[in-house]
Symmetry: C2
Subunit: 292 residues, 2 copies
Amino acid sequence: MSYPDHLRDEVESYLEDLRFSAEPAADGLEEAMRYSLLAGGKRVRPVLALATANAIGVDPRTVLPLAAALELIHTYSLIHDDLPAMDDDDLRRGRPTCHVQFGEDVAILAGDGLYAEAFRLVLEKQQGLPADVLAAVCELAAATGVNGMVGGQYIDVKGLVESGATTLRRLHALKTGRLIAASVECVVLVSGREKLGSRLSPFGQFAAELGVLFQIVDDILDVTGTEEDLGKPQGSDERHGKLTYVSQYGLERARELAAESHRHARTALAAAVPGQADELEQITDFIATRSS
Amino acid sequence: MSYPDHLRDEVESYLEDLRFSAEPAADGLEEAMRYSLLAGGKRVRPVLALATANAIGVDPRTVLPLAAALELIHTYSLIHDDLPAMDDDDLRRGRPTCHVQFGEDVAILAGDGLYAEAFRLVLEKQQGLPADVLAAVCELAAATGVNGMVGGQYIDVKGLVESGATTLRRLHALKTGRLIAASVECVVLVSGREKLGSRLSPFGQFAAELGVLFQIVDDILDVTGTEEDLGKPQGSDERHGKLTYVSQYGLERARELAAESHRHARTALAAAVPGQADELEQITDFIATRSS
């Protein structure tokens, strides 16, 4: 399956070069942050950001700070999700999770630190008109707050989802979808083309659908993936009694929903950027058909 | 002792009116956030922000979003510090801490959510030129990241402070001082007067010294304060084996250092705003002589 690996390489090398601590005594905190940040993976969010830049005619390298910030935020959310008080997972990408490796106190702070440094990165390094950078950072905060990632995570850990398609879709829109969508939207915003990225535009619809697709496939993989592919124990959703697309609809119907969502995303993308979005198409197909 | 209570009232009522969740299922998260946010206290950071606005001739009400964000951030840091994996404190301002009341998972997310919503608040609501708002938010992120609050907290929980005055001062500059200083500096920045707030300016020196003073007094109060005044058990630093101004210098010398720091802060303030900073003087004196 093709994937824009040249964009991933750009991201990877930018992340590798990031340093956070100017205080020797806090170097151990930076070590924990980098341990989790540099654990590999497809870097879907930042790659999506760079591909969006290409699709709207912006040099991808100019949005690297923003792209990297998305990965810092994603990493922080994984570290906190893995904590004993949350999902209590010991393994992530085939390695001990942050709190297993460094202790719970350090893991909490590593997550907090990554989130702070994500904002600092964009605010200090991201090019663009101040008003456009502000709009992008604001979306980043909104997408990760109570009406985004953290709110979704709360609904999830408290098991507050009723059995009903709308609510499950809504949970996932908050928990996972909004940051995926923000990976597209923030690049549009920072480039000063906010209309392009509004929720009602084809670009906005593409971004939102991609978030849904990502989560349906995640739910399917939790059941069908191998521990080797996933880098974590299979069946973890079921053990935590989580309501997922698979638990709610069964595997077969979940697969149909994924295929449907995949078609919707491709249609919205074609309407948004006619004929010049190879990388975004590749990422969309990758998200639909990935095995980890 | 006089304190600018009119400013605190402004802050209190602004905080009371804040709502975070647009998603009914996440209302329980908002409840936990508001439980900790609305636990009272002197609101030193936001009051300092409003007083700074007055001192530089800016209407304090125009910086309320920024001021409130400082309190959201302070509250998030308290919630995470109180967690069992960190300081493991059950009592805060005379009430059960967030994790005791709502569970550890919710407390972690309430902290995360408050931090996200703090950024959103400033980015969405704070008036000012976009470039000035960016500069202020950037300082907010820097002051709370690895080279600020979170880095200081890491050094503290890992007990990495060597016995040496410089390092103890540095720890506290990071852990507590930088957010106190940012309460002054961010207002200066958002008002487009960045030169005024640079580290070398009298205003910057005042802000930094105030942070030091705050922490020395905190260390003293942990030993001399009553549980009723403090709203938490007395002697908690000693139980956690923390290096403090009192453990390092003894109570008497710590009191002298506080008096010295108080004088420095007043001198810097007088140089920064000659003859028109009543509220900042009151706050400085309050920080030096408070009993909780």
